[in-house]
């Protein structure tokens, strides 16, 4: 193969091309004075190299600009993904990340403390003042929380009225101090829509044990907060492993309760309500029981709150209404019931909040073929006092339907006696505490007489609960109380024990037999 080495410009061109291929785009070749074809190629080479360099420069600059734009967009998106839009606090996902980072740096940065807090009665603010007021409160809470911690700490809103704070390198004692500071800050009055509100909170504190994950710590803090919510004496609770087992039991019970209705584990007991003057059985109060396969018969106070928590109250209420009214239907076929006989069913405040309650009641009455007047719903005094427009909707609808309404446990709440006049009810159930202990009925006489007079003045009928002795029954009869309920007449009993024998026994009005002690009273 021959090699032309005649013109050095050719070698320079080859070298130049090699350098360009190696990325040296600033390579230029000197042309000769000849200005011949080879110089023309050199001129073309130089021009193309320049074009290439410019094009690459533009490309690099464009890539740089686009990358910067992308990074900027990414940062904005990341911020959005990690921020709670309402309060501009971090969100749950950001909190978990912050917590994971803190835990990973525990060895040289010190262990973090996690505070979880939940506002007390926030739902009430939302329900009574509306969601925009609720949102305003959440924003104020967020601001106050930020003011209680250092810059390096993380404050997050986990959703609803639940917040969390990660305190970097913080001991339990210090975390407790911060928690109390938070409680104090939140307790300062909040003005929303010209209304002054007070915000309470329950705080759970957890610090990590070796090898705890962010999720472990969140579970601990949540468990402590759960405990704080139930502990009336403390709004700040530090996690203790015992709480976890209590909560696990609670969770297990919650899961079982969900299935209890479909597995027919619920049953009703009925406690007679007796007309004192005649001994007529004028009603029964339906009381729900849970026949738990392992724990035996559970009373409502062991599971009603749980049902509320897990959202099972609607189903439970519907079951009670259906079963109770079906029972009335059955008794009417087998017993000679007083025409005034009513089935009394307790209804919770949360159920009154449901606009569907009215339809449920109407539907069940129709299905069981029972007139509305045979049903009385009993509501606690506190449910009535804290009422809002939904309650009012339910009250009005139920009354229009013909369903009776009664205040339950009157005398245990905080409302004034004068409030009785304004209550949208027909009857009052007076709490057992008003009648005093069985031994001092006689001493209570003026007090009970005054209460009964008051109830009567409000044009309401009175039923006394918790009557345990003949003396109490006789006293109430003597004072003109219309009806009563209590162990003296009958304990809550299964449906089959509401029978002809019981009717006969009550009809005998043994409390009306003259008593030498009572007859001496004025």
């Amino acid at each position: 193969m021959s090699r032309d080495v005649g013109d050095p410009r050719l070698s320079e061109l080859v070298e130049g091309i090699v350098r360009i291929a190696g990325g040296e785009l600033d390579t230029r070749i000197k042309a000769s004075a000849a200005r011949d074809e080879l110089d023309a190629v050199i001129a073309g080479f130089n021009l193309m190299a320049e074009e290439l360099m410019v094009a690459q420069g533009e490309l690099e600059s464009r890539v740089k600009t686009r990358t910067a734009m992308l990074m900027d967009a990414y940062r904005k998106m990341e911020l959005m993904a990690l921020t709670d839009p309402l309060t501009q606090l971090r969100n749950r996902s950001a909190l978990e990340t912050a917590l994971e980072t803190s835990l990973a740096e525990t060895e040289f940065g010190g262990a973090p403390a996690l505070l979880l807090l939940d506002l007390d009665s926030f739902k009430g603010i939302n329900d009574t003042l509306g969601h925009s007021a609720g949102d305003a409160v959440l924003k104020i809470v967020a601001e106050r929380l930020r003011g209680c911690v250092r810059k390096a700490d993380t404050v997050a809103r986990l959703g609803g009225d639940e917040f969390a704070v990660v305190l970097q390198d913080t001991s339990v004692a210090r975390a407790q101090r911060v928690a109390r500071r938070i409680i104090t800050a939140l307790a300062q009055p909040v003005t929303v829509d010209d209304k002054e509100l007070s915000v309470g909170a329950s705080v759970g504190i957890a610090t990590p044990r070796p090898d705890d994950s962010a999720l472990d710590l969140m579970l601990y803090a949540d468990t402590a907060m759960y405990s704080a919510k139930r502990d009336p004496s403390g709004s700040v609770v530090v996690f203790n492993p015992v709480m976890l087992s209590v909560r696990q039991m609670h969770s297990a019970l919650a899961a079982e309760l969900r299935q209890a209705i479909e597995r027919n584990q619920l049953l009703l007991h009925h406690q007679p309500i007796v007309e004192l003057a005649t001994g007529a059985l004028i009603g029964v109060e339906a009381l729900v029981r849970w026949q738990h396969p392992l724990r035996g018969l559970l009373m409502p106070d062991e599971f009603i709150e749980l049902a509320e928590e897990i959202g099972a109250m609607t189903d439970l209420t519907a079951w009670v209404l259906r079963t109770a009214l079906a029972q009335v239907h059955q008794w009417r076929e087998t017993l000679e019931l007083d025409p005034r006989f009513t089935m009394r069913v307790n209804i919770s405040a949360t159920q009154l909040q449901r606009p569907e309650l009215l339809d449920d009641v109407r539907h069940i009455l129709a299905t069981e073929d029972i007139s509305a007047s045979a049903l009385v719903l009993e509501l606690t005094e506190s449910a009535l006092v804290a009422g809002n427009e939904w309650d009012a909707y339910s009250f009005t609808g139920l009354r229009q339907l013909g369903v009776g309404l009664a205040v339950d446990d009157f005398g245990t709440g905080y409302s004034s006696i004068s409030y009785l006049r304004t209550l949208p009810v027909d009857a009052v159930k007076l709490d057992r505490s008003l009648i005093g202990s069985p031994g001092d009925s006689a001493a209570q006489r003026p007090f009970i007489a005054a209460i009964l007079q008051l109830v009567s003045a409000c044009k309401l009928t009175a039923t006394f609960e918790g009557v345990e002795t003949r003396e109490q029954a006789a006293l109430l009869t003597d004072l003109g109380c219309e009806s009563a309920q209590g162990y003296y007449f009958s304990r809550p009993v299964p449906a089959e024990q509401i029978n002809a024998d019981l009717l006969a026994q009550l009809g005998g009005t043994p409390w009306l037999v003259s008593d030498p002690v009572l007859s001496r009273q004025p």
């Binding site: 042309a31 011949d36 110089d39 023309a40 190629v41 001129a43 021009l47 320049e50």
Partner: protein, 145 residues
């Protein structure tokens, strides 16, 4: 420009130029408006024309044209190099109606074709190795309706 005017070499009465006198700007570039209405730009031989030189020449072209458009003859015969920035200055359709490049030999041809590649779309532009051919072409192109 008409063929008759080119043949006689007489100035056109409404000719707006400055009398055809050559003006030299930075970098030695000469600019003049030649009867009967061709803008002439001559790059100095063996010069390395940079952006600022070209910009100075372009300013002069704009001054001489007084808001009118003219065909432009750019003579780059034996120029050493023309930078990219300098190339981008030429061929603005607001001042120039057609664009002839004049050179001699393969190097000029290559350089000229880089000018042609940069000239705006729609502006008539062509390389010549004869001044007469270039002037004739400019006359033809500018007489087209």
């Amino acid at each position: 420009m008409t063929a008759a005017a080119r043949e006689t070499g007489r100035p056109v009465p409404e000719f707006p130029g400055e009398s055809g006198e050559r003006q030299t700007c930075e970098g030695g570039i000469q600019v003049w408006l030649e009867a009967p209405g061709v803008m002439r730009v001559k790059l100095p031989e063996l010069a390395e024309v940079a952006g600022r030189h070209a910009a100075a020449a372009a300013d002069l072209v704009r001054t001489l044209s007084k808001g009118q458009t003219f065909p432009l003859l750019l003579d780059l015969t034996r120029v050493k190099s023309v930078s990219r920035q300098a190339r981008s200055v030429y061929g603005h359709p607001t001042v120039v109606s057609a664009y002839a490049l004049l050179g001699d030999g393969p190097v000029d041809r290559v350089l000229a074709h880089y000018f042609l590649g940069d000239s705006p779309e729609g502006l008539p532009a062509k390389f010549f190795e004869s001044e007469a051919d270039a002037l004739h072409w400019l006359g033809t192109v500018c007489d087209e309706p």
